[in-house]
């Protein structure tokens, strides 16, 4: 091969690799993006059906109940405007507490209960998951009743 041809081969291979990589990435991106919704958006039925998403807000005080197996828990996530009941089977993270911020990932069940596959609460006491803080801020901005336990500024 002449050097010029060789260069074409290289450029061609490079472009091919780029194309394959972009295709993979875009494809994976499409199917793995997890969108975030607030309890208000859930109540307004703005959420996708049959596809996972995240909700965030506060764990309502006094809403946590545990079934007899010790693992299945029910609680309510609220943005102080709307409430979403959540069911989760598994061990909750250390920083999960009533009256604290939480983010849960899962799907909406047929009865309107959010079936969480994962509950996230992050690394330190004062930390509020940004999504949760955002949900509260949005609900507040739209004129919902404010609450004195509201922590809007994450750290």
């Amino acid at each position: 091969m002449k050097p010029r041809h060789k260069r074409f081969v290289f450029i061609g291979l490079g472009l091919l690799a780029l194309a394959v990589a972009s295709m993979l990435i875009l494809n994976a991106f499409q199917s793995n993006l997890v969108f975030f919704f607030t309890p208000t958006q859930v109540a307004n039925a703005e959420v996708p059906k049959g596809r996972g998403f995240r909700i965030g807000g506060m764990v309502e005080d006094g809403s946590l109940t545990r079934e007899g197996d010790g693992l299945t828990v029910h609680f309510v996530v609220t943005d102080f405007a709307k409430r979403v009941p959540v069911t989760f089977k598994g061990i909750l993270p250390d920083l999960f507490k009533e009256g604290k911020g939480v983010v849960a990932q899962g799907q909406l069940g047929p009865d309107g209960t959010f079936l969480a596959s994962e509950v996230l609460a992050k690394h330190d006491e004062n930390y509020m998951p940004p999504e949760a803080a955002d949900a509260l801020a949005k609900a507040k901005a739209s004129g919902a009743q404010p609450s004195n336990t509201l922590v809007v500024n994450p750290r």
């Binding site: 091969m1 050097p3 060789k6 081969v9 290289f10 291979l13 490079g14 690799a17 780029l18 990589a21 993979l24 990435i25 494809n27 994976a28 991106f29 199917s31 793995n32 993006l33 997890v34 969108f35 975030f36 995240r54 545990r66 197996d69 010790g70 693992l71 089977k89 598994g90 061990i91 909750l92 250390d94 920083l95 992050k122 690394h123 330190d124 006491e125 930390y127 940004p130 999504e131 803080a133 955002d134 500024n153 994450p154 750290r155």
Partner: protein, 663 residues
């Protein structure tokens, strides 16, 4: 008083950095050797000043000086001394100080180990490092000063985040930073070469060991971070594709590509411009990683809003360093030249393909990490990119790279023949394919991904064996071991590092394919069975640590009626921050880990308990360690030691290789 001394030392260090970053570079440009010779003493002086500052901060922590804001924010009078000292790098300000401190260590190392470099080159390298250090010192002194006073002084500190009160934390950040900052040397070499306009094989030979050392540290640092997440977070994962982890992984990918590209530049004089670009990339990503993790951008984009000055400084600094060096690259790279030609099927061709694949993988990680941040910053909605994205992208990109990794070392430079390679590798191929297909069935669970993982690991191992056998056949010598020992250390380094990767892949594959986990409610005396082991829960007891109270569970583990071990998982409550922490109990083993962590207390002394059986998980970190050992072997090669010793002698390869670059 002591903190003020530290503060003052930092200001002086900044002054020295300004001198070091300007005069030697100017001197090198105009050929003034008096100006160039400033670089060495300046670098050493700066090291001493930053060391002084570092010791002052350490003293403030040791003496529990809660009139220093940073000390009050990250430690507490009940915190044991070793964690108080580790708290130096427990948050943003101190981490930056550690960063600069390590940068000055690298500078001093360069100043002592650069006797064989031309004067102008050394002046430029130390000058560029001085500029980097100037940026960081300026950042610290303007918006994040670790010595800031708190008046009136706090009565007691707010304590170190309990997650960080762990031996792993004491050593993980310094290791990681040694790696991050180590790439600044490669970066400085690259920028110096661009300034000087000469870039030859000798340049690659000089910067190679530095890059490899940094890469070794980074490998260990990333592995330790992963290990820390495994035993400290309490849910048994070892990699979450969390942005913080990605921030350390991206420089590693770039550094790995750089090592391989430098090998070509060193041996064949090729890939010059590409090596320079990778050096810039690796260091830029290190900077990005440092800032992403430590600035609070990641926990929330809004951290920018809480301290806009800090965020702005970071953005400007990143823009100047990355933008500036890329502009310099665009301007000067054409002078550097591309290097010798080679055929598509050749060792160069395969290394190039591997490099491209590594960079593509890097790009995909970068996209997945930054895209949610961008969307959020532009207020276009909140999304998260989950681990499945990274898994689905990473595996297909790395599979061909690892396949080529097996062939590359056997291929000839310049031009290789495919049929011949296929002949030489037919046994390796046959053995690995057969074993990869059969082994999972023997183990009782076949899935395509397990087979693929095993295939890749076996392919690496068998091709290494093939390569070794061929080389032994061509080496003269009497005894088998004599012939083994006669091969250069750099070759052994490659073999060991590649083998480490094979172990790593085996670990990942086995854990992903065969781990079992169970969340159960356990009453006192109740048993649960998992992976052939029986776990009996014997209840919990209260006990008190230095700065926490804990419930400690006792779990007896037996297998076929024989006692295996007793495990003590804990649930701790750190009193100062009133934060609960799960302390998992792990029984490690070569072939499996047993992992137990306490969930929540239920009625009658029962607990929810999380049990894991994780086969081969320690191979993941063992593999990384062996990769790093490979790096250490490679830099102990004779040719570098000779280069160290040879002082004023011109490196002969310089002129020879320079001629090859015409094409």
């Amino acid at each position: 008083m002591i903190p003020e001394i530290g503060h003052f030392a930092l200001i002086l260090a900044l002054c020295v950095a300004v001198v070091q970053g300007s005069l030697p570079i100017y001197g090198a440009a105009v050929g003034n050797s008096a100006l160039m010779s400033i670089a060495k003493p300046a670098a050493r002086g700066q090291f001493l000043l930053v060391l002084l500052a570092f010791c002052c901060l350490g003293y403030a922590f040791a003496a529990k000086d809660f009139s220093v804001l940073y000390v009050a924010a990250t430690s507490n009078s009940q915190l044991p001394l070793h964690y108080r000292l580790a708290a130096i790098w427990g948050a943003h300000e101190g981490s930056l100080l550690l960063w600069v401190f390590i940068l000055t260590i690298w500078m001093v190392a360069v100043s002592f180990l650069s006797a064989h470099l031309p004067e102008a080159m050394r002046a430029r390298i130390l000058g560029v490092m001085g500029l980097v250090s100037m940026g960081f010192l300026l950042f610290m002194l303007t918006v994040s000063n670790p010595f800031e006073r708190l008046i009136p002084a706090a009565f007691d500190g707010r304590d170190l985040n309990p997650l960080l009160q762990d031996p792993g934390m004491v050593i993980h950040p310094p290791m990681l930073y040694m790696g991050y900052v180590g790439f600044s040397v490669a970066f400085a070499f690259a920028i110096a070469a661009l300034f000087g306009g000469t870039l030859d094989a000798a340049w690659a030979r000089w910067s190679r060991p530095w890059t490899t050392v940094a890469w070794c540290f980074l490998t260990i640092g990333v592995a330790m971070g992963s290990g820390w997440a495994y035993y400290e977070l309490g849910w048994g994962g070892w990699w979450f594709w969390d942005p913080v982890e990605n921030a350390s992984f991206m420089p590693w990918l770039a550094g790995t590509a750089l090592i391989h590209s430098l090998a070509v530049t060193d041996k064949r004089g090729g890939f010059k411009a590409w090596s320079v670009l990778l050096a810039i990339l690796a260091f830029s990503l290190s900077l990005l990683g440092t800032f992403l993790v430590r600035s609070g951008v990641l926990t929330s984009v809004h951290a920018f809003a809480t301290d806009p000055k800090r965020g702005l400084f970071i953005l400007v600094f990143l823009a100047v360093v990355i933008g500036g060096s890329l502009m310099l690259y665009a301007w000067r790279a054409p002078r550097v030249g591309l290097g010798g030609g080679f055929s598509v099927i050749s060792r160069e061709g395969m290394l190039l393909t591997n490099n491209v694949l590594l960079i593509a993988a890097l790009g995909s990680v970068l996209l997945g990490t930054l895209y949610p941040l961008f969307l959020d910053a532009l207020d276009l909605g909140k999304i998260s990119v989950g681990p499945p994205y990274f898994d689905t992208v990473f595996v297909p990109l790395m599979t061909p790279a690892i396949f080529l990794m097996g062939i590359g070392p056997l291929a000839q430079w310049k031009k290789a023949s495919l049929p011949e390679l296929a002949m030489r590798l037919r046994w390796a191929f046959g053995v690995s394919v057969t074993t990869a297909l059969v082994l999972p069935i023997v183990l009782g669970h076949w899935s395509p991904l397990v087979s693929l993982g095993l295939l890749l690991a076996l392919w690496i191992a068998t091709t290494i064996a093939t390569d070794l056998r061929e080389r032994l056949a061509h080496t003269d010598g009497n005894s088998f071991f004599g012939r083994l020992a006669s091969m250069p250390r750099s070759y052994w380094g490659m073999v060991v590092a590649h083998f480490g990767l094979a172990l790593f892949i085996t670990g990942v594959t086995m854990v992903k394919g065969f781990e079992v986990e169970q969340d159960v409610r356990m009453n006192v005396g109740q048993t649960a069975t998992l992976g052939g082991y029986t776990f009996r829960f014997d209840g919990t007891q209260q006990y008190k640590g230095p700065n926490y109270v804990a419930a400690r569970g006792t779990i007896h583990v037996s297998q076929d009626g024989h006692d295996v071990t007793v495990m003590y998982p804990e649930k701790r409550r750190y009193t100062v921050q009133n934060q609960t922490m799960t302390e998992a109990a792990i029984s490690p083993g070569l072939l499996r880990d047993l992992y137990v962590s306490l969930g929540e207390p239920l009625d009658d002394g029962a607990w929810s308990v999380r049990l894991y059986h994780k086969p081969f998980i320690d191979w993941i970190w063992g593999g990384c360690l062996i990769m790093a050992m490979g790096g250490v072997l490679a830099i102990s090669d004779r040719r570098y030691r000779l280069a160290w010793r040879r002082k004023d002698v011109e490196v002969p390869a310089t002129t020879q290789m320079a001629r090859q670059t015409v094409s």
